[in-house]
């Protein structure tokens, strides 16, 4: 099929119909027809734009995700192409993910003239209604979900990242003992590309992180970054797709435990511990053979403060240096930048009284 003379917009179903028809072989090898029914932007998530495309392929209903930067760029300081390359390499990983289908950089088909990539949408939901239920009746379900999540982390952390090709796209620490320092250096290298004003709060944080960098990581693992509730796709009590790999790195697996969201609930009944971090780490150790210490988890929680600073500062860079005018970017560079400084203050001993963020 020949491409149109000018690109269309992602909000135009007719354009997406033509685009997907032109990429039919990427949707499914051998597919003969596609009909796009609905294209809609999802408001959840601000780092990049996520759109869903409801379609039928050879008469079967299917859903796809289109990811692209905002018109102003991305909140996070990594390229969209890298996100696509991560998904592409995850196709052979021992954890469930959605299949990356193609990266669109043909000017004739780039929606709104911007690069984008398409992946399959996996049916399920990010929301677990029972996860915050602290009544005893929810214990079994919460622990089962926690174990399911830990199983996936164990599979990910023991995966052969070199064979999957992640050494080609990520910085590789010199050895397990170098994981922490390498992760900090990766952040600073990225920041050097867009930093527009000095931040002594960041300098204080980085100085302390370098001073106390742990050297006892047992291995280098492919780590997901933000993970847990809100970051994975669930169906019938199982994770059917691990989603959101924006902060993925090759580093100490303790890093993922620092960023886990709500999936390790503390449950105590009648004075007896039923579940929590120690139990979860023991369960994970059985599955993976990897020892995770509380000290390393806390260390990487502090590192996350630096990462948060990076993406708020990157938003500021796009507004201040590039002249982009986007309200969500402004808000990120404004309030969230302050919050990232407070987080640095909490981690490194200079938070003002009475201001706390989780």
């Amino acid at each position: 099929m020949s491409a149109p003379a000018a690109t269309g917009t992602l909000a135009d179903r007719e354009f997406v119909q033509g685009w997907f028809a032109a990429r039919l072989d990427r949707l499914h090898p051998g597919a003969e027809s596609v009909t796009v029914q609905q294209v809609e932007r999802i408001s959840r998530g601000v780092s990049r734009q996520t759109w869903t495309v409801q379609a039928t392929v050879d008469g079967r209903p299917e859903a796809f995700i289109v990811r692209r930067d905002h018109e102003a760029g991305s909140v996070i300081p990594t390229a969209l192409r890298l996100e696509y390359e991560v998904y592409r390499r995850l196709a052979d990983a021992p954890v469930p993910t959605s299949a990356a289908l193609w990266f669109e950089d043909d000017p004739a088909w780039m929606p709104d003239g911007r690069i984008a990539y398409v992946r399959q949408e996996v049916a399920g939901h990010w929301y677990l209604p029972f996860i915050a239920d602290e009544s005893p009746g929810a214990d079994e379900q919460r622990i089962a979900a926690s174990k399911e999540h830990l199983d996936q982390l164990a599979a990910l952390h023991t995966a052969d990242w070199a064979a999957l090709g992640f050494g080609e796209i990520f910085d590789v620490p010199a050895g397990p003992e170098d994981c922490a320092r390498s992760l900090i250096e990766t952040q600073l290298k990225s920041l050097a590309g867009f930093q527009f004003e000095s931040n002594p709060a960041l300098a204080e944080g980085v100085a302390q992180l370098i001073e106390r960098a742990p050297r006892d990581a047992p291995r280098i693992s492919l780590c997901k970054g933000t993970n847990g509730h809100g970051e994975e796709v669930w169906r019938d009590g199982r994770i059917v797709a691990m989603s959101d790999w924006e902060l993925s790195y090759l580093t100490d697996p303790a890093y993922d435990f620092a960023l886990v969201q709500e999936m390790i609930p503390e449950i105590v009944r009648d004075g007896r511990r039923v579940w929590g971090r120690p139990e979860a780490l023991a369960y994970y150790r059985e599955r993976s053979g990897i020892e995770i210490t509380h000290e390393r988890i806390e260390y990487y929680r502090a590192v996350y403060g630096v990462m948060q600073f990076l993406y708020t500062h990157h938003s500021g860079h796009l507004i201040h240096n590039r002249g982009f005018r986007d309200l969500r970017f402004l808000w990120t560079a404004w309030e969230n930048s302050y919050r990232s400084n407070i987080r640095l203050g909490q981690e490194f001993g200079f938070a003002p009284e009475g201001v706390r963020i989780r």
Partner: protein, 149 residues
């Protein structure tokens, strides 16, 4: 003189929240209405308080940097930043921004020059950072009244 910035921004927030947002059906547009209103509340406080806040912040930085300047092998940039800021009599907001950038850059250099986090210079730096964050609290924390998106 009046209506001033306060009255203008309050009226705009009221229009967004009472006259526009209730009629917005698109989820993303409704979310943007929340961001608009909350950001305007923050801007209103910042406009009123930023100038005296920066004057105080820069003054504390000058004092800190002067007291610890001898920790640097080359203190020329630090001294220049302190001198330029101290010489101003009625600085504009833009001049205060420029001074703050130079003074904060000097503090960053000082922190990086003293690797021991228990050193008095580093402790003093953290005390300044605590005060600085507290100064921004009125528009970065207190001004917000609800969901931002």
């Amino acid at each position: 003189m009046h209506p001033g910035v306060d009255e203008a921004l309050e009226s705009i927030v009221a229009a967004v929240e009472q006259d526009i947002a209730p009629h917005v059906e698109n989820e993303y547009a409704a979310s943007m209405c929340r961001t608009v209103a909350q950001m305007l509340r923050s801007v209103r406080v910042r406009v009123a308080e930023e100038l005296p806040t920066l004057v105080a912040d820069n003054a504390e930085l000058r004092e800190l940097l002067t007291a610890h300047a001898d920790r640097l092998a080359d203190r020329s940039a630090l001294d220049a930043a302190v001198r330029a800021s101290a010489e101003r009599t009625a600085p504009s907001l833009e001049e205060l921004y420029a001074d703050a950038e130079a003074l904060r850059a000097a503090l960053t250099t000082l922190i990086e020059a003293v690797p021991d986090s228990t050193d008095p210079t580093r402790k003093a730096a953290r005390e300044y950072l605590r005060h600085s964050l507290d100064r921004e609290r009125p528009w970065m924390v207190d001004a917000f009244t609800g969901p931002r998106r």
